[in-house]
């Protein structure tokens, strides 16, 4: 723990104008941690080179192992206050959170110095209870396993090999190539984006099979993945079981064609000459495009991309995403892996549907002489550069393109298919007769049907809550497309999103880099996204563990398993360091060296709570998520906003790390209310650790109930969702709490006891 602290108070940027320095210094020199603080100084410009040099000299002369910088927000001057790895730094935000956002209460004078003293004492306490983490640095396996030998997997294997990595490529089928190998051609992958081209998959296969770095396993089944990033023990069955030592995994298992049952409203299954795009592709690949009814070459082929007949029965917003709240007890009756395919996969495939229709219309022109092709679309879904391919198709007189809403597909007496459509460019209501009709093939990720990964994790073999993404292994983070809930596994290609081959190639490269990065981070004992580089990690005091399993169940990333005795078994390289386990633990046995229950609890105890709320005002603790809520508060201060002088902010890693004891202790100390400010939760969650703010809200309900039993109003503990740009709203949130809760209920009944 930091034992020799230097405490420095800056008087620049209005701080000195608003506050007298001497009493603030006295709060430390005469405080209970005075013995730990051999250096207490003030400085007019603490970020100046001279001041920084002075701090460095003090560190050297006094052997300081901690520096408390009482100045601006830690978001500012981040590069200035760094004093090497042996010296811990704590920033006390006097400028933004104290001085700039201060609002006087005329009834109670002298509040600002009290606030500043509180924050300084809190900072000193926090640092005095912080250690420098010394992570274990495990030996890691460096081999990358690529699951799936289709276009994405082949590219991923080659990219990893080019980086000098050993690769194991595991393919379920007997041959490599996946869906790309079944294609006659693909729509264009590069400039000038005008013509369908060869997929190049044969060449890729040849490159992969001849690459000494890549071990190819076909007809291979992934039996189990045990362990953690950098330390996976993988069992694959390929004519006998093999054990592999793997560092990280690229999941490129791709897609399967959607259930054709969803196409029944468009005549599939009942009309012979209605086929799917996948079936049409197979005909083109085999070299002969023929009508199923009579084997004759069609003179006209209609490609229908409007699937509203199939999807309109599906509600726009499935409420199923809330289903996650189902109690765990029911899990036994539910199927092992609930199927996630639905008619909407047809809609999600729209881009590929349109591009494939254009491509296959080209096959008609190429292979069937004078035959004509119709492409009837609701929206020609060719965003971006592929507009050029669409333009090129428009230039072919034998390809008729029209917007249309398909109303009915029926069969003619002579085997022809009649497509009825409305709102077309050819007329309001039209019927088009075609010899053959081609319907879209939905791209359904394999993970919609099967867990695929076979992870030997306590939380299950696959990715949790994929129903949010209709079975796609997507991240839900726009900025971080590869970050899923299983550290060390990076999805690429159509298992992640429906995508073109050109996209999949790029996606493979990205996923490989994330896999390499993960192995490197594991090897250095540091976290990956979003706390990349963090050296802290949760430490478990198992002697006091009651095996309640809350930490193992609640970890958003499935980092904890059970050992033989049923005790939680941490897997540090799976861990993202959010502290959700620490927040979950009722016995408080989980801690980080530099972030723990005692530390934050002690910090809260440093807040001065007057016995008389009328004379001294109330006190409210705000546990603020440091990712979004904290910067929002800074920004509010920058914009000249102010709020109640009775709140004290305590930054937390994530609301998931908030342990109920902090709230209970605060209330028993006489604090009048506790606010938790964190990220949005629900289907469009913004929580950086996926579940933190949501779990906190559930725990909050329990906390409030316990308070109720003690005669404390449940309303005194409240959680609010704040995104980083809600800086103009957050002061009002605080204000509302102060009037609707504190003014209404009056002093905490525990006050003064």
């Amino acid at each position: 723990m930091a034992e020799k602290l230097g405490v420095y108070i800056c008087s620049g940027c209005d701080i000195g104008k608003a506050l007298e320095m001497a009493p603030l210094m006295e709060a430390v020199t005469k405080g209970k941690l005075a013995g730990n603080c051999p250096v207490v100084k003030q400085n007019p410009v603490l970020c100046s080179p001279e001041a920084v040099a002075e701090i460095e000299a003090d560190i050297a002369a006094n052997g300081l192992d901690g520096v408390v910088v009482c100045a601006c927000s830690p978001r500012v001057k981040w590069d200035i206050f760094k004093f090497g790895q042996a010296v811990q730094v704590e920033r006390v935000n006097l400028r933004e959170q104290c001085v700039w956002s201060f609002r006087e209460d005329e009834k109670v004078p002298g509040l600002l110095p009290l606030m500043a003293k509180d924050y300084i004492k809190m900072g000193v306490m926090k640092l005095s209870k912080s250690r420098i983490p010394a992570p274990e640095v495990p030996e890691t396996f460096k081999t990358i396993m690529v699951l799936g030998g289709g276009f994405t997997g082949l590219n991923a294997a080659l990219e990893a090999a080019k980086l000098g990595r050993d690769v194991v490529l595991v393919e379920k089928a007997a041959t490599l190539g996946g869906k790309a190998a079944t294609m006659y051609k693909t729509f264009p992958m590069s400039h000038p984006y005008l013509k369908a081209e060869d997929t190049g998959v044969e060449k890729l296969i040849a490159e992969v099979t001849s690459n000494a770095k890549i071990k190819v396993m076909t007809s291979a089944e992934l039996k189990s993945v045990e362990g953690a990033p950098g330390q996976y023990n993988v069992t694959v069955s390929a004519g006998g079981e093999q054990k592999l030592e793997i560092g990280a995994i690229v999941l490129a298992t791709g897609w399967v064609p959607g259930d054709t049952g969803f196409l029944a409203p468009m005549g599939y299954g009942s009309i012979k000459n209605v086929v799917t795009a996948a079936e049409f592709e197979a005909m083109a690949k085999a070299g002969s495009i023929a009508r199923p009814s009579d084997g004759k070459a069609p003179a006209s082929v209609a490609f229908l991309t409007d699937v509203s007949l199939c999807t309109k029965a599906v509600p726009a917003e499935e409420e199923a995403v809330e289903g996650e709240a189902a109690p765990a007890a029911e899990a036994e009756e539910a199927p092992a892996y609930p199927d996630k395919e639905n008619a909407k996969h047809l809609a999600y495939s729209s881009e590929l549907t349109s591009l494939v229709a254009l491509k296959q219309a080209g096959y008609v022109r190429e292979k069937l002489g004078d035959a004509v092709a119709f492409v009837l679309y609701d929206h020609m879904m060719v965003p971006g550069i592929n507009e050029r391919y669409y333009k090129a198709a428009q230039d072919d007189a034998g390809v008729m393109l029209s917007k249309a809403t398909i109303t009915k597909v029926s069969e003619d007496a002579d085997g022809g298919v009649i497509v009825a459509a409305k709102d077309t460019l050819l007329g309001a209501d039209v019927e088009i007769k075609a010899d053959l009709v081609v319907l879209p093939t939905a791209i359904v990720p394999v993970t919609a049907h099967d867990a695929t990964m076979n992870l030997s994790y306590r939380q299950g073999p696959g990715f949790p809550e994929l129903e949010l993404f209709d079975g796609f292994v997507d991240s839900n983070y726009i900025c971080f497309p590869y970050e899923t809930r299983r550290t060390g596994v990076y999805a690429a290609g159509c298992v992640r999103q429906p995508m073109t081959l050109a996209n999949a190639k790029e996606d493979a490269a990205g996923a490989v880099l994330k896999a390499v990065q993960c192995i490197g981070s594991a090897n250095r004992g540091v976290a990956v996204h979003p706390r990349s580089g963090d050296v802290s990690y949760p430490v478990f005091n198992f002697q006091r563990c009651t095996q309640c399993k809350r930490c193992t169940e609640e970890c958003p990333f499935g980092a904890l398993d059970d050992d033989e005795k049923g005790t939680p078994k941490p897997n540090p390289t799976r861990c993202r360091r959010c502290g959700t386990c620490m927040g979950a633990c009722p016995e408080r046995v989980i801690s980080f060296d530099n972030y723990n229950i005692d530390q934050i609890g002690s910090m809260i105890k440093e807040v001065y709570v007057p016995d008389d709320m009328v004379a001294g005002g109330p006190r409210v603790i705000v546990l603020a998520c440091e990712n979004d809520a904290y910067p929002a508060l800074d920004m509010a201060a920058f914009r000249g906003k102010s709020w109640s002088p009775y709140v004290r902010f305590v930054p937390v890693r994530c609301l998931g790390s908030v342990n109920a004891i902090w709230v209970a202790d605060a209330i028993s100390k006489g604090v009048d209310g506790v606010i938790m400010l964190g990220c949005k939760y629900g289907p469009d969650y913004q929580c950086h650790f996926v579940k933190g703010s949501e779990l906190c809200s559930r725990r909050k309900t329990n906390i409030a109930e316990s308070l109720g039993r003690l005669g404390v109003e449940a309303e005194r503990v409240e959680q609010y969702e704040v995104s980083i740009d809600e800086y103009d709203k957050v002061p009002a949130i605080i204000e509302r709490f102060m009037t609707e809760v504190i003014t209404k209920f009056g002093p905490n009944p525990f006050k003064g006891y």
Binding site: C47, L163, P383, E387, I478, Q517, P530, P631, F638, D725
Partner: protein
Amino acid sequence: MSNNSILVVGGGFAGITAALEAAEVGHEVYIVETNPYLGGRVAQLNQYFPKLCPPSCGLEIQFQRIKNNPKVKFFTMSEVVSVTGGPGAFDVKIKERPRFVNANCTMCGECEKAATTTVKSEFEFGLAERKVAYSTHLFAFPQRYVVDAAACAPGELDKIKDACPYNAIETADAEKTFDLSVGSIVWATGWKPYDMAKLDNLGGGKLANVVSNMQFERLAAPNGPTNGKIERPSDGKAPKRIAFVQCAGSRDENHLNYCSYICCMASLKHVTYIREKLPEAQVVVYYIDLRTPGRYDNFMQKVAADDKLTLVKGKVAKIVECECKSPILTVEDAVTGIKGEERFDMVVLATGMQPSCAGSKLPVELPVDDDGFIIGGAEKGVFAAGCAKLPLDVMKTAQTGTGAALKAIQNVVGR
């Protein structure tokens, strides 16, 4: 001896992503950015589709990663002047424009208070004025003011200097050039909004209440010129009827010979801004196709269910304005063929994205297409990412940034 470090040209989302992903596997990375801040176009957006989350959230994470990683170095207000050498051993000359503010700056804002001259804000697309001593926006990173010395009135620069309590104003600051030696280059110079003044028939840049989609982002942003209030530029009134003109410049051989990828989703997102802020406003979106690929379909369905929104497949041929400055649109419905005139209080042109480099000579020889997108370079050790390469959304931009980082690493590791 080959050089392991990587130069990333452009500090927007693609560039930051490429830089960090490479740095986090141990490579020294330099970001060169022409703006005074990192973050590029996304820093100007109010929210991302489809989650409607603020871009500053993701940028905050990226900036934290930069702050915590000594392998990432960045230069703002800087541009690449020339590139010599080749893969594994590039010599790059960088020009850094003067900021006139040194590292002493604490963001206290005294310089801004002292400055008196104002000019149009580039960051706000001309919708607001800024002082000559300014910070572009609330979340600007690095957190350091800029002084636009060239725009200062006589004596103003000295007044600004005197106002600074921290001796942060460098009145003698001047352009500098310096060299970097790198092994690979990621080209991520991004995009610019297509100049709406070129859309003559649509009144772009001429009619007061015809704004671009990027201007609309600023009007909706809480840190924008109106603190997030959607109002008509001409009179500050809340519009009751708003039209969106899709493909304003895009999908048009006379302007941009491609689809700009994001505008359909962006306009649908703008409808959600309107609904939140102006619950009663009527909205019409004129489109050719609504391009909402993949799982964006859910967002489209949700927005389309708005009963005050009308989606019209139709072409807007012309926009003029009436005496009260309300735009009048001449529209042809593509399905019915009916032509008509419609009056709105405000019109948003869904202008497309054009590669930033379009029309200017690159300091390194790279193959580009007719529209200015980079279509090669890998063989030369230069890897394009983001919208310098293709029109893309943010998610795909992050994907290409990560992919380009891998290629850049392969290029230096394999040597």
